[in-house]
């Protein structure tokens, strides 16, 4: 059995293990992946994402872990442990929807404390968004679709977000190109000639809309945030079928508050949550 890196070149060979939405992340700076193979057969895979916790510590979120035997799981986690031990790691954690045997057992053996809880990700349909009261609000002309700005303005805008410590749900935001986002649904706010608001939405390979970054600066930032949300709702309603899924990640207090405001009482899916201090 051989553990090797998952790369953009070899990922197609493991399409049975790695779904398209996950596969599209391979090759990005913060994503890493390992695959366990026995001759030509893939026995398991693990993909994780690095994130900064503070200026000096990182954490790793395991995005995918899939194997059919405990031996395969142990081999994969050994490779994972070896790799993260080279970095200043604070913790590892994961959220798994409907994990299959023997994943929970291997997680316990790897000293992950696990529990069943509500996912931080909330899935809603475009029709749900269109039914919201705020979707009827007017959008002022200074909210522009992402496609209206230049690549240079985009870079400058992302740099401004990072300057203010905002990178949304992905830390490799600076390396993502403008084309990676949906240019019709994503939008920006222009104030005094400069971009001051950004709502970046990515459309995954399977068609799920993922809001990646929502940030506004300046005196009117609260209203700008809301106006960009209204813009994105209206545009997604025009561009995509009502059944299109939107994944809202409630990763901060602000995003939790926003999703509670937009969808009161709505719950995320049930997941197995595991965490290990490194």
């Amino acid at each position: 059995m051989i553990v090797s890196d998952i790369t953009e070149e070899n990922i197609d060979a493991f399409s049975g293990l790695i779904k398209e939405d996950m596969a599209e992340n391979i090759g990005r700076k913060t994503f890493r992946g390992k695959v366990l193979t026995d001759e030509d057969d893939a026995l398991g895979a693990i993909i994780w994402e690095y994130r900064e916790v503070s200026d000096f510590d990182e954490e790793a979120e395991i995005k995918l872990v899939s194997f059919l035997s405990e031996d395969a799981g142990e081999a994969l986690f050994e490779a994972y442990n070896d790799e993260i031990s080279l970095r200043s790691m604070y913790r590892s954690y994961l959220e798994l929807e409907k994990p299959v045997e023997p994943v929970p057992e291997v997680l316990s053996e790897q000293k992950f404390s696990t529990k069943i809880q509500e996912s931080r990700d909330l899935y809603v349909k475009v029709s749900d968004l269109m039914a919201l009261e705020i979707a009827r609000k007017k959008v002022p002309s200074y909210v522009e679709k992402l496609g209206m700005i230049t690549e240079k303005e985009f870079k400058q805008g992302i740099n401004w977000c990072l300057y203010n410590g905002r990178h949304g749900i992905y830390e490799d935001l600076p390396s993502l190109s403008m084309d990676w986002f949906d240019k019709d649904v994503s939008c920006v706010v222009r104030t005094d000639g400069e971009l001051t608001g950004f709502f970046m939405i990515h459309r995954t390979t399977t068609g799920i809309l993922v809001p990646v970054l929502l940030y506004a600066s300046g005196a009117n930032f609260r209203k700008d945030l809301l106006r960009m949300i209204v813009f994105a709702i209206k545009k997604s309603g025009i561009k995509y079928p009502p059944g299109t899924l939107v994944m809202i990640r409630r990763h901060t207090d602000e995003t939790k508050a926003l999703s509670d405001y937009l969808f009161p009482g709505m719950k995320g899916r049930e997941v197995l949550y595991g965490e290990r201090k490194e």
């Binding site: 805008g157 740099n159 410590g165 905002r166 209203k223």
Partner: protein
């Protein structure tokens, strides 16, 4: 009119013009490089005041014995309109100073400016059908009750608008470099004195306020370097004081050194980075970019953007390359922001 009255008026008018022109000449060179909407607004305010003052006192010379009633009314209408314009320009200036954005004022506070077209329309109607004031044969204006009622409403409207704008100043530290007294005094005093005594103190009141504002703005300008329009070493020292007091907290710093054209590097920084990024022109050919929240990825991205732009410049100007050097410095674990700033200068 006695000789003394004429001299007083003339002295007042000359001094107004003198101060405004002086202010304009001294700061306009700097304003050309800073060129923020607030600075431009201040210039507009200064020039409007000059016009307002000129109009207000010109009747003494122009129409004293003309006997043309309609011309008097038209002239008085222009003065009223100029005064109105001044009041609202003042409101915009306060708004800009508090929010730092002209667009924001237009977007969120446009109802505050609705009375301008309404009142202007009333003034124009008044020329043909006197509803506000009329010129009588004795050389005086007779003001109708409607004039006082509208003036009172307008004064309240401006003051309430000013207060509503100004209550947001807690959200900004801009006002630390800004004195509230000179700003609000004319807005409150001009209508108050007119309504209680009938005296028109607008021109002198606004002029005194503008002179105070001029000195206040000059105090702010000391933190900027005239040529690139970035902060200077005086600001860096002020920044260190703020850090020492715990009012600012920096996580990282980028030092940019160039062996080529200093101005070209300033242009690149201005073009590539957002306007509100804290940039310091430390010395000739040396710039600093401070960040309170940015992480290592921010530093990497900024360095890459500037380096790419510098490479492009070098490609176009092979005879005078920039020779840009980006030094990325992050605060160490356990190091205070003050120690960090001190360390960056010993490098």
């Amino acid at each position: 009119m006695t000789l003394m009255d004429r001299l007083t008026v003339e002295l007042y008018f000359s001094s107004t013009a003198f101060f405004i022109c002086l202010g304009f000449v001294i700061i306009s060179k700097r304003l050309r490089s800073l060129n923020t909407p607030g600075d431009r607004l201040f210039l507009e305010l200064s020039l409007s005041n000059l016009l307002y003052s000129a109009l207000s006192y010109s009747r003494i010379y122009i129409f004293e014995e003309s006997g043309l009633e309609t011309l008097w009314v038209v002239h008085q209408t222009v003065i009223e309109a100029a005064g109105l314009f001044m009041g609202y320009l003042w409101l915009m200036f306060v708004g800009y100073t508090v929010f730092g954005s002209r667009d924001y004022l237009k977007r969120e506070y446009w109802p505050f400016f609705i009375p301008v077209p309404v009142l202007l329309s009333l003034l124009i109607i008044n020329i043909f059908h006197p509803i506000l004031f009329v010129y009588d044969q004795m050389g005086f204006f007779i003001y109708y009750p409607a004039y006082y009622v509208i003036a009172a409403i307008e004064a309240v409207y401006i003051v309430v608008s000013g207060i509503l704008i100004f209550r947001n100043n807690r959200n900004t530290d801009r006002m630390r470099r800004f004195r509230i007294g000179p700003v609000l005094t004319p807005v409150v005093l001009v209508p108050l004195v007119f309504l209680t005594t009938g005296a028109r103190i607008g021109p002198i009141c606004y002029t005194v306020a503008i002179i105070f504002m001029f000195f206040s703005m000059t105090a702010r300008i000391q933190y900027y370097d005239e040529e690139p329009g970035f902060y200077n070493r005086v600001y860096r020292e002020y920044m260190c004081e703020l850090v020492k007091e715990g009012r600012k907290d920096y996580k990282n710093l980028m030092i940019l050194k160039c062996g080529g054209d200093d101005r070209a590097l300033a242009d690149i920084i201005r073009r590539e980075l957002h306007r509100n990024v804290e940039k310091v022109h430390y010395s000739k050919g040396e710039y600093e970019i401070f960040s309170e929240h940015g992480n290592a990825k921010y530093l990497d991205m900024t360095c890459e953007m500037l380096s790419n732009a510098a490479s492009e410049y070098d490609r176009v100007h092979p005879d005078s390359p920039l020779k840009l050097e980006c030094i990325k410095i992050r605060r160490d674990k356990g190091e205070s922001a003050f120690e960090f700033l001190g360390r960056t200068r010993s490098l």
